[in-house]
């Protein structure tokens, strides 16, 4: 009940503001289509895709918005912008660039992390060697993740629970 009243309040505020900046809304409605698409496509995976494409989309729209705001904030100017093919090219090219950023950075970061992990393992092994030298082999321990340990225990339990008679074939 409260949510619905809050949404109604937002709509009631947005309508007058929207009416006041109609030319800007017209330009943005055309320019930010890729952003909307990106939000829809990346729904459930976080909003990083939408935000990245949106930021670049806005960056591409910024020269035309500046023109609109400085040359007279009218619907006519807004229509002039949205009928300009070059403007469309800039809007959608910037959005595409944003999408490219969104797509390539994970791979780049992963490559970087893989490169640094080798160095860290070497460092940690050296640290372990120092510990062994200082405290003896009794400090050594083998790490076994909980899942693996539990699986090993379950397997052992199964082996013990199902002894096979001599000569009998173990059930798969």
């Amino acid at each position: 009940m409260k949510k619905r009243s809050t949404a109604f309040l937002y709509v009631m505020l947005a309508i007058p503001i929207g009416l006041m900046i109609i030319p800007t809304v017209i330009v943005l409605a055309v320019a930010l289509v890729p952003t909307g698409v990106a939000f829809i496509m990346e729904r459930g995976k976080g909003y990083y895709g939408g935000l990245t494409v949106g930021a670049m989309n806005l960056a591409g729209a910024s020269p035309y918005l500046a023109d609109l705001w400085t040359q007279g904030h009218t619907v006519q100017v807004a229509l002039g912008v949205i009928t300009n093919v070059f403007a469309w090219l800039v809007f959608y090219g910037a959005a595409m660039f944003g999408w490219a950023i969104y797509s390539t950075t994970p791979a780049a970061v992963s490559a970087f992390m893989t490169m640094t992990a080798g160095h860290r393992i070497t460092g940690m092994r050296a640290q372990q060697r120092e510990l062994v030298q200082k405290w003896g082999p009794d400090v050594e321990s083998v790490y076994e993740p909980e899942g693996a340990k539990a699986a090993a225990q379950a397997a052992a339990a199964q082996m013990n629970a199902e002894p096979t008679a001599p000569g009998a074939k173990r059930a798969a």
Binding site: T52, A59, S110, I121, S141, P145
Partner: protein
């Protein structure tokens, strides 16, 4: 003070044949000829240009190792010439005790310097290095009896002492001497004709000889011992008391009057049997003709009833001419119907008891088939005794699993009930509870099997014997009950500081430590242990611990308050704790009793600290310890070494550091595992991080673009 300073030097005198070793020389009584020997002649003082060796005892008495006096040897000690440095020309001789038997140190401490009439004057005693056997021995210095022995050996005969001399020259002074000994709490227990000496060359003054070089009554022939004491093993007769001395005195007087041992050649068992059958006096006199004047006195001294036996007051009355009531031996209960056992017929209980002991295997038959019980119940009408026997049989079978063992215990218990005054008899072993300690000490010194002693304690024969004394329970017996209960607990404990070794030291106050490491040093006191170990460290196997079972038991028995906790720590199953426990035992003794520096022992102990060093996890600390221990060893202070090695702060620091290091290693291991095995996770985090990076970069580009565009328009 037990330990005496001793020097070993080349004596300034003509070279003499080497002195025989203690082990090689037979006992005086066995070796002495049967015929009377002339009194020993005083030997000249050592010459100034000779090559014989001597030792100095207590910085005063020069004892010549190569000048033995065989005529004054004792069964457990050899006699040597002695010169007093302070009073030259004083006639002295020394008895060097053989190490196979403990000497009566407590008696030595009392008798030292005392001049008791008719008792050989002990001038001094000490422990000193004795070169012929290359070990320390107890040395007792006596006034030298110039007239020699009264009787050279028990086997021989001699010119009997004239009747008129007996009363005033022999009986009176010796009886007075025995009273004085008794007042000092000492029983002589070595009164026999071959241990009586003439102090003067004219052979007019008789004295009692040495009584401290062996355990009480060990070398007393059965003929000179009371019936009960004669039944016990020589080592198990116990310290005895004044009445036993008076009995031996009476028997000795009888032999002096006859001029020989009337029971010479008769087996010990036969002597005891005859004494039981006809009484001691009649058994010893036999067909001999006794001087009429002595008969009353001898009857009084040789009476078998301890309470009726003559004392010094009776002798005084007798010497003053008062005729005393003739002592009537208590008639033993006689059964009308005899009991046939071992081809003999018995009417009274005590002879049967002795026969049952002699026929151990047969005894169980008449016990188990009820013959004995019925005979006592019907023949003697002693129902209490019969009930006691029945109860002993029942309870022993109920408690014992093994029938053969139970049979032996039953025979032993029945014999205790039949003859409560007799020693505890268990097959070949027979001793009084008072003599058990001495017997155990001798068996340990002679490296004999100790199983019979363990059985004696574990089967609680002592408790049965005390119970068999009935209403006549002596206060000492109650004390012994507590002692033996403790001994049983020691035997159960397999750790160092307990076991049969502990029993030996608990029962023998002045027994030296019998550890193979320091046995030759004759250590009787705790503070001597470290000095002995220190001096033995040069030749000892330094891979072995300096605190073995004997030393641990010795310390625990003599210094339980000071070393109990440390010895417990020494028994810890962890090698490092046990090693530090061993060090702490030695350290606490040195700290409390000195000496300040023990270089040899420190070196020995320092070399054994491997487990302690390895107990520290930190390798750097280990290296530090390895560097520091030699420095501490050179100081010779074990307490300092202990404090350094077992510093609690260092230990805690090491433990905490190790725990931290272990955690750090595990964390690193986990991270490495994650890096090596966590590919999927890393990909996910890379994608997430990459997307975040892209968003941030795009946002930054947007703001910069806006800024540039707006700036361009506005400017």
């Amino acid at each position: 003070m037990a330990e005496a300073a001793a020097d070993l030097r080349q004596a300034p005198g003509p070279a003499k044949p080497a002195a025989p070793t203690l082990a090689a020389v037979p006992a005086a009584s066995a070796a002495a000829p049967a015929s009377p020997t002339p009194p020993p002649q005083p030997t000249p003082a050592p010459q100034a240009n000779g090559g014989g060796s001597f030792i100095v005892v207590r910085d005063r008495f020069t004892l010549y190792c190569d000048r033995p006096i065989p005529s004054l040897d004792m069964p457990n000690a050899l006699a040597y010439e002695v010169a007093d440095r302070k009073q030259e020309g004083r006639p002295l001789y020394a008895l060097v005790c053989k190490p196979e038997m403990p000497a009566r140190i407590s008696v030595m401490r009392t008798l030292k310097g005392l001049e008791i009439p008719a008792v050989l004057h002990m001038v001094d005693w000490g422990v000193a290095e004795w070169p012929p056997v290359d070990r320390k021995c107890v040395i007792v210095i006596y006034h030298r009896p110039m007239g020699g022995r009264v009787m050279d050996s028990m086997a021989g005969s001699f010119k009997r002492v004239p009747d008129h001399q007996f009363a005033r020259a022999i009986i009176k002074p010796i009886a007075d001497g025995l009273v004085e000994l008794s007042l000092k709490g000492i029983a002589h227990r070595a009164i026999r004709p071959d241990n009586l000496y003439y102090m003067d060359e004219q052979r007019t003054k008789i004295v009692l000889g040495d009584c401290v070089t062996s355990v009480p009554a060990h070398h007393q022939p059965v003929v000179l011992e009371t019936i009960e004491s004669g039944m016990a093993l020589p080592s198990g007769r116990g310290a005895g008391s004044y009445p036993e001395d008076m009995y031996a005195f009476g028997a000795s007087v009888l032999m002096l009057a006859i001029g020989r041992n009337p029971m010479q050649g008769v087996a010990d068992a036969e002597i005891t049997k005859r004494k039981i059958q006809v009484g001691s006096y009649a058994a010893l006199v036999g067909d001999e003709r006794m001087p009429v004047a002595l008969i009353e006195c001898l009857r009084g001294l040789l009476t078998d009833d301890t309470e009726q036996r003559w004392q010094a007051t009776n002798i005084d009355l007798w010497l003053n001419g008062k005729r005393l009531t003739p002592i009537q031996a208590k008639a033993e209960s006689q059964a009308q119907r005899p009991l046939r056992f071992a081809d003999q017929e018995f009417h009274s209980i005590r002879p049967l008891s002795y026969a049952m002991y002699q026929n151990w295997e047969k005894a169980i038959q008449i016990i188990n088939d009820g013959t004995l019980e019925v005979w006592i119940r019907r023949g003697h009408e002693i129902n209490d005794l019969a009930d006691g026997i029945a109860m002993a049989i029942k309870s022993t079978y109920a408690m014992s699993g093994n029938k053969n063992d139970a049979d032996d215990v039953i025979v032993s218990r029945v014999l205790m009930l039949l003859d409560p005054k007799a020693p505890i008899r268990f097959r070949d072993f027979r001793c009084y509870i008072e003599g058990f300690g001495g017997s155990l000490a001798i068996a340990t010194l002679r490296k004999q099997k100790l199983q019979v002693f363990s059985d004696f304690i574990n089967r609680e024969l002592w408790r049965h014997w005390i119970a068999a004394q009935g209403g006549k329970v002596h206060a000492d017996n109650q004390q012994f009950e507590g002692v033996f209960r403790d001994l049983k607990n020691y035997l159960k404990d397999p750790n160092s500081g307990a076991g049969v070794e502990r029993c030996v030291y608990e029962l023998n106050e002045w027994l030296p430590c019998l550890s193979p490491l320091i046995e030759s040093q004759y250590v009787m006191e705790v503070k001597g242990v470290l000095l002995a170990l220190d001096s033995m460290s040069k030749n000892a196997n330094t891979k072995l611990w300096p605190v073995d079972r004997h030393i641990a038991a010795f310390l625990r028995a003599r210094y339980a308050k000071g070393t109990g906790a440390q010895i417990d720590s020494m028994n810890d199953p962890r090698p490092d704790r046990a090693t530090i426990g061993m060090l702490s035992v030695l350290a606490i003794v040195q700290w409390r009793l000195g000496p300040a520096a023990l270089y040899g022992l420190s070196g020995w102990v320092g070399g054994l600290m491997g487990p302690v060093i390895n107990s520290y996890q930190n390798r750097n600390k280990r290296k530090d310890l390895e560097k520091e221990i030699p420095k501490l060893v050179r100081k010779g202070n074990l307490a300092e070494l202990y404090n350094y090695l077992d510093n609690p702060e260092e230990r805690q620091c090491d433990a905490e550091g190790f725990a931290w290091a272990k955690a750090e290693y595990a964390a690193a291991e986990k991270m490495v595992y994650d890096f090596e095995h966590g590919q999927v996770d890393r990909q996910e985090s890379a994608i997430k991080l990459g997307r975040q990076t892209g968003t941030v970069a795009a946002t930054l580009i947007m703001f910069v673009t806006f800024l540039i565009v707006l700036m361009g328009k506005l400017l």
